[in-house]
Symmetry: C3
Subunit: 358 residues, 3 copies
């Protein structure tokens, strides 16, 4: 059990810090101190938790947490003696509270002696450059940028203030990244787009040199091992606030609007364009040159082969079944047109009989 | 041709080493020496091969191998003069024989001068740390651990004895890996889970700091460029003996049971739970918060959107067809409900006619 | 606007350089100088563009480019005063012109002092080895090979002349790569194939040591974060001229024929064999031990579960629909066999009625 009395913050202090961000009120003992955030079921005394989904209400009675974040409407269900933050969107509030209670550790400023930094790179004294990192000529880092161990920053790359580049990231020359980016290990930004022209017949492929760059806005997070190709002529563009999960593939000349959220294993073929606030479920794939309107949502595992012109949710997956049942049914997929024709023939035949019967 | 007489091991010696592992008997010349393992069709004299699938029996007559591993039931088919190991599971025996004949080369102990190891890291003198590797404060390596070139081991990471971390692996702070792990190049362990709360409307996403870790059991192998995210609050957990192929994505708070086998390009969304011995075919995808019972098997390319409560094999893929045929049939997928209704209407109509006819 | 008069090349000079590669003629002012290539819509004066798809003809009138590449058949549509290169395949010509106007920058020869090169490695003085790169014993680099920052080249790896290995690539021991390869960041070549034998029942998996290598031909390009596993006994083989996009997974013992093109997120299971000139669309997946004939094309998102014996285009994807519509239709996928039986029963019943009616 943590000694919440000796550290952490009181609900009053937390509410004060949240005041400019979202509406929040304290219920119960405002001096209640919490040191950490926890899940409703596993939180310990000294922790603050949240209740968002009404179906978890029963856990309110059993949680060991010292305080809970919930809606004013649910305040009546607070157990005797439990303190609370009341706010319209408890989950959103919770995200902020986690960051207030345990802000991410920042790496200390300074360039590690085992880093290799080109003389021509522009690096503020507030930046951190880790062991084995390599920074090419003409690269420019904003204030407090962190380049972790063994990350590779190509020539003339620009990275905005407060961005964190995790170990082993590779950014190709000339790419530009905004402020407050979080780029996870294994990410590759600016590799060549997949552009080749067939010589025809039994000949090979001639590479089209990829002369564009990747331009990434502010507040973008990119998950582990995701890669974003540079444009062929124009740039590949990632808007402000975009969040990408792991193992994503963004081909050359894609344009991703602000605040899009892309789940793991998603793939976008060349020149695909997402409007703002588009959400792509895990392993969704977007064909080349496709446009998707703002606020559209693609289900996991779905393939988008045509432009999407209306917001809403779109799905195209084959439902899972027991293998034997699937085997029996799937064979008829190849006969659907034939079945439809037989159905029409039956309707005509029955209709004729009906007429004959009249 | 290799000079098998001068090196390698005799079948008797091999059988002795296998004695504690599996039932095995020598047939034919027990002094026959073999230096290496090979495939039935391409093995050369001095090599030992195996016959597991009865359909390859004819190759027994033509193989140039000096010895073969096969079941006692097939011993009668041994060509004159060929030595053999008889064992109920020849393929399993073969796997052990390969390891006995040519055990993997181990890197020599010692820390390369071009490695960067924090003073606070705990590294046994039996460990290998390669050039360019970076090991953070408080990291702890068991006996004989190998950290290859340019691998990145975060603060307070723990790695069990005899584990091999290949070049360029990135392990985030606080993650724990058991003994005898094999982690291939490009693997990322402990990157942030994909956790964001929408501000709503035209607003953006607020990051939920990811405070859990990744905890990996003993005897786990992880293929190239796979990534495993750290948990949001609790840990992401990988059980003992789990084998993962390349390009896999494991989201935050997944729990993978012992001895699961995950083929290439698989994706697990957040909080998915696999019972022990689950097998996932290549590029299978598991939705968030899904549970799968032990010993279930998911076919390649299938998407699991509901809990799986019974063992067995499950499939959900659209069968491949010639493009023109697919085009014709696929259009009717959007009319299946309508076709079913027409079918019911026909049945009713015919039924009425039948009654009228009576 | 660029000062095209002072630099770049005249159309005459470009045509001369192309003379040995493809048929090309100059139309209009052969002294017209161009410095760069650009897109039809966004090109500026001083740039050369191309027109391949007839539907973009209208842009010929509005482009600001100084010259255009197009077919002789379209020469009549050239605006007054615009110079042109006439050639049967403008896009192919364009690819060559981009490379002539702005050839890729080469890294200077020399080994960076922060690189770690084993004494036993064979490296020509024309090679570049970047900071943090590691090259193992017995590795051999051809003339002008570039090993960029933090790339990892295992023992006894061979790399042919003029190949470029981008930052952070990992090549395992004993793999061989031909001339003029382009290997992008995050690529892993030669990691262990996924080979395990189940002990059976509640037991685990026994690793089959992977003793083959990866052998890659000439003129191969491999996209970011793609990985290619080494063979179990024999080698994994990639033919001359193969082009692979990002995030691809090639399992052990695959054999990929010359000039195949694999788009992003593709996966090949073990021992899959592609004939030459096979094209795989994005995220296509190939089952293990499958063979595909030369010149076959697999659509994006399709899964190949059987051998493909005839060239042509193959598809197997579930078409996207609005989620509600998909929900209604998808439920009938599990009843297709039943629907087919009801259809047959109706046909029989109607047929009998017909006979009764006669």
């Amino acid at each position: 059990m943590m000694d919440a009395a000796q550290s952490g913050l009181s609900l009053l202090e937390i509410a004060a810090r949240l005041a400019d961000i979202l509406p929040v009120e304290v219920a119960g003992d405002a001096t209640c101190r919490v040191v950490q955030a926890g899940a409703l079921e596993s939180a310990e005394p000294g922790q603050i938790t949240f209740l968002s989904n009404p179906k978890y209400r029963p856990y309110l009675k059993t949680t060991r947490a010292s305080a809970v974040i919930l809606t004013p409407a649910m305040a009546a269900e607070l157990p005797q003696g439990m303190a609370a933050l009341l706010t319209p969107n408890p989950y959103l509030c919770y995200a902020h509270v986690v960051a207030i209670l345990s802000p991410p550790a920042r790496k200390p400023p300074g360039i590690h002696p085992a880093a290799t930094v080109d003389e021509g790179a522009v690096i503020s004294s507030s930046c951190h450059v880790g062991a084995g990192a390599w920074i090419g000529a003409g690269a420019t880092l904003g204030e407090r940028v962190e380049i972790h161990a063994n990350a590779m920053i190509g020539e003339k790359v620009e990275i905005g203030a407060d961005s964190v580049i995790y170990p082993g990231v590779s950014i190709y020359p000339g790419c530009r990244i905004g402020a407050r980016a979080i780029i996870h290990s294994g990410v590759v930004i600016g590799s060549d787009g997949f552009g080749f022209v067939p010589e025809g017949g039994e000949g090979g492929w001639v590479k089209i040199l990829q002369k564009g760059a990747v331009v990434i806005g502010n507040d973008v997070e990119i998950g582990a091992n995701t890669c974003i190709d540079r444009g062929a002529i124009d740039d590949t563009v990632i808007g402000d606030g975009v969040k990408m999960d792991n193992q994503i593939h963004i081909a050359h000349n894609c344009v991703i609007g602000e605040h899009c959220a892309l789940a793991g294993c998603v793939g976008l073929a060349g020149s695909a364009k997402l409007g703002h606030h588009v959400m792509l479920g895990g392993s969704a794939m977007i064909h080349g040159h496709i446009s998707i309107v703002p606020h559209a949502e693609i289900s996991p595992g779905s393939l988008v082969t045509n432009n999407i012109k209306e917001p809403g949710k779109y799905t195209g997956i084959y439902p899972l079944d027991r293998h034997e049942a699937w085997l029996k049914n799937a064979v008829f997929l190849r006969r659907l047109e034939q079945m439809a024709k037989r159905l029409s023939a039956l309707e005509r035949a029955l209709n004729e009989q009906g007429h004959q019967g009249n």
